[in-house]
Symmetry: C2
Subunit: 335 residues, 2 copies
């Protein structure tokens, strides 16, 4: 067990905000990133919470992300919001977009947000969750540097490209929250095995020739195994089309790495679809989704995607979050 | 090799139309179903082409689908079309919905179509393909009777629920067409093995207790294996939320079987999202998606989802389609 220190969600947000501002991030960009950091810690996804703040700070420093960028919003059609993140943080661009997207979706019944020239948006479900909290069904798509090969090929062209969908509950929270990548396993797990000099299980990675391997380094030079074979490639491609082609952002083959200081801004993209369930279902959505959720919860052992995060979130709201002390030390060193 | 007879796409459409009308389907419902039948045969998906016409006719006869139903359209918001299929054919309801959806999506930048009280819509990609042919990026979702269990459970609550996305090319055709179910394999393959008394490979089905089995009948009583484990469940759940909760249609747990004469209308649903790529990408979509497609096609062996269907379609347009003679005999018997 590593040493931990328990912080409230407010303390996490304040610490993240102060550290990001101290590292040269404009307050307008630091705030949404700090809010998302607290939400991510609340959801129990420690790998993408405070642990990421020193990485963000380093990326501001080396110019992989512009901490002072001002996202530019346009509204090309009654149902479309587009935001050019101007190589700044994705969170600030998404936040600005949501301010217009949410009322637009309520009025039109559906609206979309296309974000380009942006950066790693952290946990995608944190963003779609906010749409559900606004009473909307939210889809999210974001792309990443290429690490999945197409069917029949061995050269990576698609990222591990997550897709997320969040559906609203009656209590102002997300009732269902799906957030999953297109690969069998997260790339960060392979990197962890590489750092620790451990073999990875078969079915995680392929070498440069597309053959199965248990060597994490051969896998990092090769490609990630898509979840469910060609169907995982299909999902990665769907997400790539949405996050890049539909926004004008970099493709996974063009994006610089999300990790490390080299290559300049990745200029990847995010795409969100927000739909008013009351409008499309003539008011029957709440009953229908409750029945669906009950059919899963009511059976022995049955669980929904997002159940683990929701449980962690409820606990964090009252008890705070136990944060790794070494992580806290690194974040506080930025102040 | 079974005996075949080569028909043009026009002949397939006419034959399907005449047979459906002779079986008691209203011309307004028979036409879109006949058009889709020809498109499905063109795409090389023979299992869902003319072979389905006698099943459709039988379902009109037993009341599983109302051949004379008139779909009712409403427009509850500027970006939302809703169609009550009134237990008639999905194709007629979707056709009616698309007439409004397509111009609406061009004007608003995005629009959605929610169809409820409908029936098996055949090959989902045939519908999204039409949105791509109209220059729009189209998403499609449709649900089916429950056959996939949730993570942690053994009782089916979700259908094999396909998702489809079609992206437009410069030539008025779909450049990318993804159309995939949430299960490892189609349920029809398991039924085929059952009819032929053959064991199925491991990884296709689970028995009623959720354990792996190679007995197709045990699998049909149990559940289908989700593609990629819990991620396949996530996709099935996403589709269920869209096709049922977002439309007001039956859940997979409530729907009557798509096969056989019992249980009355399944009352399942379909949901479509149509987006104008030019609006969201400030005109860069065509270049971005061409670069993406080239990155896949240009590598040895690399192929895109939908490539097989596109090749079949191109061949069918000039050479027609070789249809199984026994199938043709059954369809002609309806005239």
């Amino acid at each position: 067990m590593s040493a931990t220190e328990t912080l409230t969600l407010g303390e996490i947000e304040t610490l993240a905000y102060d550290a990001l501002v101290a590292a040269g991030t404009a307050p307008e960009s630091a705030r949404p990133l700090a809010v998302a950091t607290a939400m991510t810690e609340a959801d129990g996804v420690a790998s993408h919470g405070l642990a990421y703040v020193p990485i963000y700070a380093g990326h501001v420093d080396c110019g992989k992300v512009d901490g002072k960028a001002v996202p530019v919003l346009s509204q090309p059609r009654p149902g479309v919001v587009a935001v050019d993140a101007a190589t700044g943080f994705a969170h600030a661009a998404i936040d600005k977009g949501f301010e217009t997207l949410i009322p637009m979706a309520r009025e039109q019944g559906v609206a979309v947000l296309a974000v380009k020239n942006s950066y790693n948006c952290g946990v995608l479900g944190v963003h779609t969750q906010r749409l559900a909290q606004a009473g909307l069904l939210g889809f999210g798509f974001t792309n990443a540097p290429a690490s999945i090969a197409p069917s029949g090929g061995a050269k990576p062209v698609l990222g591990t490209n997550p897709i997320s969908i969040a559906a609203p509950g009656a209590d102002g929270e997300a009732l269902v929250l799906i957030d999953q990548s297109a690969s069998t396993i997260a790339k960060s797990e392979v990197m962890k095995h590489s750092r620790e000099g451990k073999a990875v299980p078969e079915g995680w990675v392929l070498d440069v020739d597309g053959n199965p391997t248990t060597d994490p380094d051969a896998g990092l030079k090769g490609s990630m195994v898509p979840s469910g074979g060609y169907k995982g490639v299909g999902i990665a491609l769907m997400v790539e089309m949405m996050a890049s082609a539909m926004t004008g952002a970099s493709l996974g083959t063009e994006a610089s790495p999300f990790s490390g200081p080299v290559g300049g801004p990745p200029k990847t993209g995010q795409f969100f679809i927000a739909i008013d369930p009351g409008a499309t279902s003539a008011g029957s959505f709440a009953e229908r989704i409750s029945t669906l959720v009950a059919s899963i919860r009511d059976q022995d052992g049955g669980r929904l995607p997002g159940d683990g995060r929701a449980k962690a979130r409820a606990r964090a709201a009252t008890e705070g979050v136990a944060v790794n002390s070494a992580t806290l030390e690194k974040v506080r060193a930025l102040l």
